[in-house]
C-alpha cells in the first residue's frame, strides 16, 4: 500500500488518505477528527495519528500537523459573522416548499406549488433550469451530493423524478407510490434513491436503472422523513404512526422499530458516525436512539409544544430542536442537557439547521423571519427579515458563507456573509453586484 495524497474534509473535520494497493487500485480511507477544536494541540494530534495509522510515517508529521491546523482554523467561531440580503428570486409563481444546496454551494434548488423545481446559480442569482413535468406540487428534493450531477424530486403527483442537474433532462420517472411523495434522499454513494410517501411506504430505487430494489413496508401511517447513514447501508424512516424504523439497505428488511414517542414523528436523522439517530415528534420531545440496538438512549424534554424539526451538528455532539412553541433548543448529546434555549420568534419554528462549523443555528419561522443564533449562548445574532409570509425552509451552504430561505410568499432569498470590515447597513440587495 502506497500513500498517494492527503485530502481535507472541513465538515465534519477529517483527513482522507488516498492510497494505492499493490494491485494498482486507488482507494481512500478517512480519519475523522470529530473532537477537533480551534485550540487543539495539533502537534500532539499529528503524532497520535501517525502512531495509529500504518499508512503514515514520522516524515509526514510536518505536513500532517499543518493540515490539522488548517482544519482547526475552520472550527473557529467568527463572532462578528453577519449576513446581508444578496438576492430575492421570484421565478416561482406559487409558494415554495423545500430547498437544498449542492455540495460546493455553487447551485441550489427550490421546489414549489407551481409544480416545478428550479435550479439556481448561487453567485449570480440566475435561474439556470426549470425542471418541469411534475403534475402536482414538487415537495421533496435532493442533490446527489457530493457529486451534484443529479437531482431527485418527489411530487404530490405520486411520482419521483430524476434529473440531470446540468442539462435539466428528466432521466427517470419513478412510478409505484400510491400517494404523495413527501421525502427523498440519495445514499452518499449516489447509487440509490429512497422515497417516502403518504401511502405508508418507502421505496428504494436504483438510480442507474430506475428499478425498485426494495419496498420498505411496515409503517402503519404516512412516512414523512427518510435518511441514509454516512455508509449508505442503513435508512431511517419517520412516520405519523409514532414510530421510526431502521432498514437494512441491502435486504430491505426492517432492523429496528423505534418505539416510544406518543405522537407523530416529524423528522429523523442519523449522526455522522451512524451510531445514533434522532427523532422529533409532535409529542413535544426529541429522542436519541442507538442504531445498533434500537434502544432509546435519551428523551430530550423542555418544549411546551410540538417538535417540528431537529438536527445533529456535523460532528454529532449536539442537536437542535425546533418547536411550535416558537423556541429552538440545543442539547448536548452526551449529557442530554439542554445547553441553550433560543427565544425570539413570534410564531412556530418549522425548520432548524446548524452551520457547518456548528457555532450557529439557523431557524425558519411562520413569523416570516429566519434567525441566526449563537449555539454557545443561545443569543439571537441576527434576524433575517424581508419575506412577507411564512418561511418554509432554509439551508446553509457547505462553506457556511451563504444561506437560502424559501417562503410561502413565492420567493426565495439568498443571504451572503458580510465582509468583515464593511458596516452592516451598507449592504443591500440592490447595491451589491458581482
Amino acid at each position: 500500500m502506497k500513500l498517494k495524497r492527503f485530502l481535507l474534509r472541513y465538515y465534519p473535520p477529517g483527513i482522507i488518505l488516498e492510497y494505492e494497493r499493490s494491485s494498482g487500485q486507488l482507494e481512500s480511507k478517512a480519519i475523522d477528527l470529530l473532537t477537533l477544536k480551534e485550540d487543539s494541540d495539533t502537534d500532539a494530534l499529528a503524532s497520535h495519528i501517525i502512531r495509529e495509522e500504518p499508512l503514515l510515517r514520522e516524515s509526514h508529521h510536518l505536513l500532517l500537523s499543518r493540515l490539522i491546523r488548517k482544519l482547526a482554523a475552520k472550527c473557529e467561531d467568527h463572532l462578528s459573522q453577519r449576513y446581508y440580503l444578496y438576492r430575492t428570486l421570484r421565478a416561482h409563481i406559487l409558494p415554495l416548499t423545500n430547498c437544498a444546496f449542492n455540495k460546493d454551494g455553487s447551485k441550489f434548488i427550490t421546489g414549489s406549488y407551481d409544480r416545478t423545481c428550479r435550479v439556481w446559480d448561487t453567485n449570480t442569482g440566475d435561474e439556470v433550469l426549470a425542471l418541469e413535468g411534475s403534475k402536482n406540487v414538487v415537495y421533496a428534493l435532493a442533490f446527489n451530493n457530493p457529486f451534484g450531477d443529479k437531482i431527485a424530486t418527489g411530487s404530490f403527483d405520486k411520482t419521483a423524478r430524476l434529473w440531470d442537474s446540468t442539462t435539466g433532462r428528466c432521466l427517470h420517472i419513478m412510478r409505484g407510490h400510491e400517494a404523495e411523495i413527501v421525502c427523498v434522499a440519495f445514499n452518499p454513494q449516489g447509487t440509490r434513491l429512497a422515497t417516502g410517501s403518504m401511502d405508508h411506504r418507502a421505496v428504494l430505487w436504483d438510480v442507474e436503472t430506475n428499478t425498485q430494489l426494495a419496498v420498505l413496508q411496515g409503517h402503519q401511517a404516512e412516512i414523512v422523513s427518510v435518511h441514509f447513514n454516512t455508509d449508505g447501508d442503513k435508512i431511517v424512516t419517520g412516520s405519523f404512526d409514532m414510530t421510526a424504523k431502521m432498514w437494512d439497505v441491502e435486504t430491505g428488511k426492517c432492523i429496528h422499530t423505534l418505539k416510544g414517542h406518543t405522537g407523530e414523528i416529524s423528522t429523523t436523522q442519523f449522526d455522522w458516525t451512524g451510531d445514533y439517530c434522532i427523532t422529533g415528534s409532535i409529542d413535544k420531545t426529541c429522542r436519541l436512539w442507538d442504531t445498533g440496538s434500537g434502544a432509546c438512549m435519551d428523551t430530550f424534554r423542555g418544549h411546551t409544544d410540538e417538535v417540528l424539526d431537529c438536527a445533529f451538528n456535523n460532528v454529532g455532539n449536539k442537536i437542535v430542536t425546533a418547536s411550535a412553541d416558537a423556541t429552538a433548543r440545543v442539547y448536548n448529546v452526551a449529557t442530554a442537557q439542554c445547553s441553550a434555549i433560543m427565544v425570539g420568534h413570534d410564531k412556530e419554528i418549522s425548520k432548524c439547521a446548524f452551520s457547518p462549523n456548528g457555532h450557529r443555528v439557523l431557524t425558519a419561522s411562520s413569523d416570516t423571519t429566519c434567525r441566526l443564533w449563537s449555539v454557545d449562548t443561545g443569543d439571537c445574532i441576527q434576524v433575517l427579515q424581508g419575506h412577507t409570509d411564512e418561511v418554509f425552509s432554509c439551508a446553509f451552504n457547505y462553506e457556511g458563507d451563504t444561506l437560502i430561505t424559501a417562503s410561502k410568499d413565492n420567493s426565495c432569498k439568498v443571504w451572503k456573509e458580510c465582509e468583515a470590515s464593511a458596516p452592516l447597513d451598507a449592504h443591500n440587495d440592490k447595491q451589491i453586484d458581482t
Binding site: L94, Y113, F240, S366, K408, N410
Partner: protein, 178 residues
C-alpha cells in the same frame, strides 16, 4: 403552519372534513374565511398561494383551504382537489362583467373527476354593494338548476358584514357524512 402541518392537513382524516374554497380573484374568498374565524378583514391582499383555516361548525371540524383565484394560477387549483369533501364557490355578485367567466370556471370544476359528486355551496358575495345581483339572478344566469350530479345550494352573503355566512356554513355541514 409550516410544511409539516401541510402534510398533516393532507392526511385523510375521518374527524375533519376538507373544504375547498375557490372562485375568481377578488371574489372575497379570503375575507369570508377571515370573517368566519373572527379575524380582522381590513387589510387583505390578493392570495398568491393558499390559506388554510381550521373552523368548528357545530359538531364538525372543518379544514378549509382558500386558494388564490388569479387567472395565471387557476390552472393549479387541481393541486388541491385530492380528498375534498365539499366545494365552496365564491362569486362577486357585483361584478356583472365577469359573471360569465366565473360561471365558466365553475363549470370546469364541476366536470373534474376528483370533485365528482361532492356538495357545492355557492356564496353570492358582496350583497352589501348596491349593484349586486341577487342569489336568484346569479343562479339563473349560471344555470345552477341544471346541476344534477350533486347537492348544491346558493347563499346570498356579505363577507364585509358577515350576513349569510353562517347560514351557508350551516347548510354545508348538513351535507357532510356524520
Amino acid at each position: 403552519m409550516g410544511l409539516l402541518t401541510l402534510l398533516r392537513k393532507l392526511k385523510r382524516s375521518d374527524s375533519e372534513a376538507r373544504i375547498l374554497v375557490l372562485g375568481l380573484d377578488n371574489s372575497g374568498k379570503t375575507t369570508i374565511l377571515k370573517k368566519l374565524s373572527d379575524e380582522d378583514i381590513s387589510h387583505i391582499m390578493p392570495t398568491q398561494g393558499f390559506n388554510i383555516k381550521s373552523l368548528v361548525q357545530g359538531s364538525f371540524k372543518l379544514n378549509v383551504w382558500d386558494i388564490g383565484g388569479q387567472k395565471t394560477i387557476r390552472a393549479y387549483w387541481q393541486n388541491y382537489f385530492e380528498g375534498t369533501d365539499a366545494l365552496i364557490y365564491v362569486i362577486d355578485s357585483a361584478d356583472r362583467r365577469r359573471l360569465e367567466e366565473s360561471g365558466e370556471e365553475l363549470n370546469e370544476l364541476l366536470q373534474q373527476d376528483k370533485l365528482g359528486g361532492i356538495p357545492l355551496l355557492v356564496f353570492a358575495n358582496k350583497q352589501d354593494l348596491l349593484q349586486a345581483l341577487s342569489a336568484q339572478e346569479i343562479a339563473e344566469q349560471l344555470s345552477l338548476h341544471a346541476i344534477r350530479d350533486r347537492t348544491w345550494n346558493i347563499q346570498a352573503c356579505s363577507a364585509k358584514t358577515g350576513d349569510g355566512l353562517q347560514d351557508g356554513m350551516e347548510w354545508l355541514v348538513t351535507t357532510l357524512p356524520k
